[in-house]
């Protein structure tokens, strides 16, 4: 009886993603086109922001010439060009031709997490069209370098097919062009949503998007201030795992545990290190090179359990900020009212995060009913809204009635979570897990912004009430004047303006009173109801005035 043969083979990261491309958001041609666009745009925005350059991003999606008349899905050419600092030519092959090679493994807030999104797009393009990626980049030294490459999927290595040095004339930053199988017909609305929402949180960028139908969308820069770039930070003891600790121990030169603790953790100084080692009952002079694996596990356990570590601070984070967020909302949503609430830094499992919430109310573009706009590290999250923690809060936890907001009020709720590690629930990076710390911060921010809206609405309401009241007198008094003139058999109407003025003065006085004492109401509840009813009847009259 022959034993069943089990074969083991190592697979490369490229191969892993090739086999599991659904995980990374490349499940079908429509989603893949959206994901590729998004990943490459995010790389460009990150590059510009890190280089402190106001981003100018050009994006173009074209159907490949011979396929123009074909129905979707078909081959598209996606090109993205930025004005960032560019990439040193010696890093280009690996930056674009190898999964898990990137500038984003240190702890710092950035849009991408693992530096794999861009490469995934290239990989997907290659497996669906078998065409190379073209990368042109200049670091501003007068020369630009052009690479045509493919990926060796099994070896996770770039294959350079063509390399060329060009004069950098007219070239800025980096441009990437790939061919890929896509479905623009289905993807277009998501892609446009993506650009619109990106424009909300990056009002300091110029983004030009030319789509497959030849339409051009221009998202214009309205502010020159950019968020302060995040600082690189050491890992927090609560956020470290066994593997990371093992690598740290190998890489570092320190010889004693005390030195190691003191130098390698966020907000851990000598004093804290000493106290911690006492707590963990570890000898501070232990040679780090001598630690056995089980000792490393014990150490990680202790690091996680010890409560006295200082919380991570926000220095490694780059929130959008009130001014920029307001500018973005104003530019893209054009609401009647904006409230922004920014929470102080908080942390979950040793990862710092900041929650920012913007509330937009009214205006021409918001539909009736609440619209949720979710962002994480400035990336719009467009899929799986129903599973997101913000959705849960907005849908179930907020007492809208308390804020005087009806179910059909045109209101936009923008939530932004920035963190060194955003707690996505899946690799697809589309919705956030309900971490209690995150939920707490989001709730507080949303409520705070809604409170601002409530104040605005109640002020607006009482002004509107006075206006509507005056409209009612303005309608009825002339009618009364006309009728009594006729009844009396007279010609000239009585001077009803006297009465109108009296009423206007009354209302004005009451409004002044109100400003002095917030608890004095302009009208009684009953009056309000009457005014509303009468105003509604006015609406009816208008409809009937079709003659």
């Amino acid at each position: 009886m022959a034993k069943p043969q089990v074969t083991f083979a190592e697979i490369s990261p490229s191969e892993f993603f090739y086999r599991n491309r659904d995980l990374a958001g490349f499940s079908n041609p429509s989603r893949a086109l959206y994901s590729a666009t998004r990943e490459l745009v995010e790389n460009s925005l990150d590059a510009c922001e890190l280089g402190g350059v106001l981003p100018d991003i050009f994006v173009r999606i074209m159907s490949n010439e011979p396929h123009r008349e074909l129905a979707d899905p078909k081959t598209y050419i996606l090109k993205i060009q930025d004005n960032g600092p560019g990439i040193d030519p010696k890093f280009i092959p690996h930056a674009f031709g190898r999964v898990f090679f990137g500038s984003k493994f240190k702890l710092k807030q950035a849009r991408g997490m693992f530096g794999m999104g861009g490469t995934m797009s290239i990989l997907y393009g290659q497996i669906t069209t078998h065409r190379p990626v073209t990368v042109v980049s200049t670091t501003g030294d007068g020369n630009a370098y052009k690479f045509e490459m493919m990926l060796n999927i099994r070896k996770n290595e770039p294959i350079i097919m063509h390399k060329e040095k060009l004069p950098a004339e007219g070239i800025t930053g980096t441009s990437v062009e790939i061919s890929l199988q896509g479905d623009y017909f289905r993807a277009s609305s998501k892609i446009l949503d993506y650009f619109r929402q990106t424009a909300v949180v990056t009002p300091y960028a110029n983004i030009v998007f030319t789509d497959a139908l030849g339409r051009q969308f221009f998202f214009e820069r309205v502010t020159k201030s950019m968020p302060t770039p995040p600082r690189m930070t050491l890992p927090h003891p609560h956020g470290i795992d066994v593997e990371a600790l093992r690598r740290l121990l190998i890489d570092k030169k320190e010889t004693t545990l005390l030195q190691f603790m003191n130098n390698n953790f966020h907000r851990v100084g000598e004093n804290t290190a000493r106290k911690f080692l006492e707590y963990a009952r570890l000898n501070r002079d232990t040679d780090t090179k001598s630690l056995k694996t089980h000792q490393i596990v014990t150490l990680v356990d202790a690091l996680h359990r010890y409560k006295e570590f200082l919380k991570p601070d926000g220095s490694c984070l780059s929130p959008i900020g009130k001014e920029i967020l307001e500018a973005g909302i104003k530019k893209e949503i054009q609401p009647e009212f904006i409230a922004v609430s920014i929470r102080p830094p908080s942390a979950y499992s040793g990862f710092p995060f900041i929650v920012e919430v913007g509330i937009a109310y009214g205006g021409k573009f918001l539909p009736s009913g609440p619209s949720l706009f979710r962002f994480a590290n400035r990336i719009p999250l467009l899929y799986d809204e129903g599973s997101d923690i913000s959705y849960k809060i907005v849908r179930y936890d907020v007492d809208w009635k308390y804020y005087g907001i009806g179910p059909n009020a045109p209101i936009g709720i923008l939530t932004h979570v920035c963190s060194t590690k955003v707690p996505y629930k899946t690799v697809g990076k589309e919705y956030l897990a309900d971490r209690p710390e995150l939920e707490h911060e989001l709730k507080n921010a949303i409520r705070d912004a809604l409170r601002q809206l409530k104040i605005y609405l109640s002020r607006k309401g009482s002004i509107a009430m006075v206006e509507r009241k005056m409209n009612i007198y303005g309608k009825y008094l002339p009618l009364i004047a006309q009728f009594v003139t006729d009844l009396s058999g007279l010609k000239k109407k009585p001077n009803y303006h006297l009465l109108l003025k009296k009423k206007a003065d009354d209302s004005g006085e009451k409004n002044e009173d109100k400003k002095k004492k917030m608890n004095v109401k302009v009208s009684t509840k009953r009056d309000k109801k009457t005014i509303e009813e009468l105003s509604e009847l006015e609406g009816q009259t208008a409809i009937e005035d079709f003659g």
Partner: protein, 368 residues
């Protein structure tokens, strides 16, 4: 009574109209002056709430008490109904001046031409009653009439005042189906009559029988079909015939609580119209059918229904039913637990009611 033995009307319909127009103008002028001097005009009239409903022993009808309602243009709650009343006054003033009439429904729709919107007809009906209360005059005097359904027949000469017919005279025996008591009849001058009484019957069928059997000749009567609970225009006509022509009014109804209450409303008015005092004929006599008649004449009858009992107990609480014939007959109905219709007399032949019952009852009525 004049030389020919005919009765003539003592007051004139057109006088009443002039009076109403004058009152409306006065109202308009007082409001005009207020507005001109920077005062918010208002209108005050008796409250029609149940709490303000009082039974007046002397008038023998419900009247409104001392509570007043103010509709003011000053407060937001009052300005709309106030405008509506003023509009209505303006509207009926025009109606009266042009000699036109309208219905409750007309009023509702007419308002829309003036940008004074009523939500629905009940709202405009309500304002009409308000205006009635302001002037203590029925809507008919403002040229607003309900759907006509009751009729009149008998030797009565009238003279129309409606446009196109002014001065034209008609005798109400000229058409055997009777004349609708509508706007033109209600505003007509009552010229003369040879009749000596009015007989109001509850039903059209009996009305026709009476005409066929020449009750108007045999008994020198004007016959009126109230068509159930008489509309105001009919009660107003009864009142005028009684007051202006000095004719006694007799009422014949079905032998049930509803019939008894029809008679009561003619005699002493309804709670709904407590703000009006021109609609009652306190001297009118209810001839029957009484509950006791059912027994006496062995009339075919049917058991009282649940509704009948409910109404019966309601009426027993009404002070007007606390004594005399009214009370006695309610008690009889309650005792025999049966009721009957006027047609029940057909058991004794179609003309029995005219030949036997009516003369007996009229004889008795003289002694009531």
């Amino acid at each position: 009574m004049n030389l020919r033995g005919k009765r003539l009307s003592k007051t004139s319909a057109s006088n009443r109209k002039e009076e109403t127009i004058k009152l409306l103008k006065e109202l308009g002028l007082s409001m005009y002056e207020k507005m001109e001097s920077g005062v918010f005009p208002d209108v005050v009239f008796p409250s029609r709430s149940v709490r303000n409903l009082i039974y007046d022993e002397e008038l023998k009808q419900y009247i409104l008490g001392a509570n007043r309602v103010t509709r003011s243009s000053q407060n937001i709650k009052g300005i709309r109904p106030f405008t509506q009343i003023v509009w209505l006054a303006f509207f009926v003033d025009k109606l009266l001046r042009q000699g036109k009439t309208s219905t409750l429904r007309d009023v509702f729709y007419s308002s829309q031409a003036y940008n004074v919107l009523f939500k629905d007809q009940p709202e405009s009906d309500d304002i009409i009653v308000d205006l009635e209360a302001v002037f203590s005059r029925p809507r008919e005097s403002f040229s607003i009439y309900p759907e006509e359904r009751s009729a009149i027949f008998g030797d009565l000469t009238i003279e129309y005042t409606v446009p196109g017919y002014e001065g034209k005279k008609t005798n109400l025996t000229s058409h055997p189906d009777g004349y609708l008591i509508g706007p033109s009849l209600s505003t007509a001058e009552l010229v003369e009559t040879s009749a000596e009484m009015i007989i109001a019957v509850e039903k059209g069928g009996l009305f026709t029988r009476f005409v066929e059997e020449k009750v108007h000749e045999k008994y020198k009567a004007i016959i009126i079909d109230t068509a159930g609970q008489p509309p105001r225009s009919t009660r107003f006509m009864l009142k005028r015939l009684n007051r202006e022509m000095n004719l006694p009014v007799y009422i014949l109804t079905d032998g049930d609580v509803y019939g008894e209450h029809i008679a009561m409303v003619i005699v002493s008015g309804s709670a709904n119209a407590a703000h009006l005092h021109e609609l009652t004929v306190p001297t009118a006599k209810w001839l029957g059918i009484y509950g006791s008649d059912i027994v006496k004449y062995k009339l075919p009858s049917i058991p009282l229904t649940e509704h009948d009992y409910k109404r019966l107990h309601e009426l027993k609480r009404d002070p007007r039913y606390h004594k005399g014939r009214w009370r006695k007959e309610l008690d009889v109905f309650l005792k025999i637990k049966r009721k009957c219709e006027l047609e029940a007399f057909a058991k004794y032949g179609l003309t029995a009611i005219v030949d036997k019952y009516l003369p007996e009852k009229l004889e008795k009525a003289k002694s009531l």
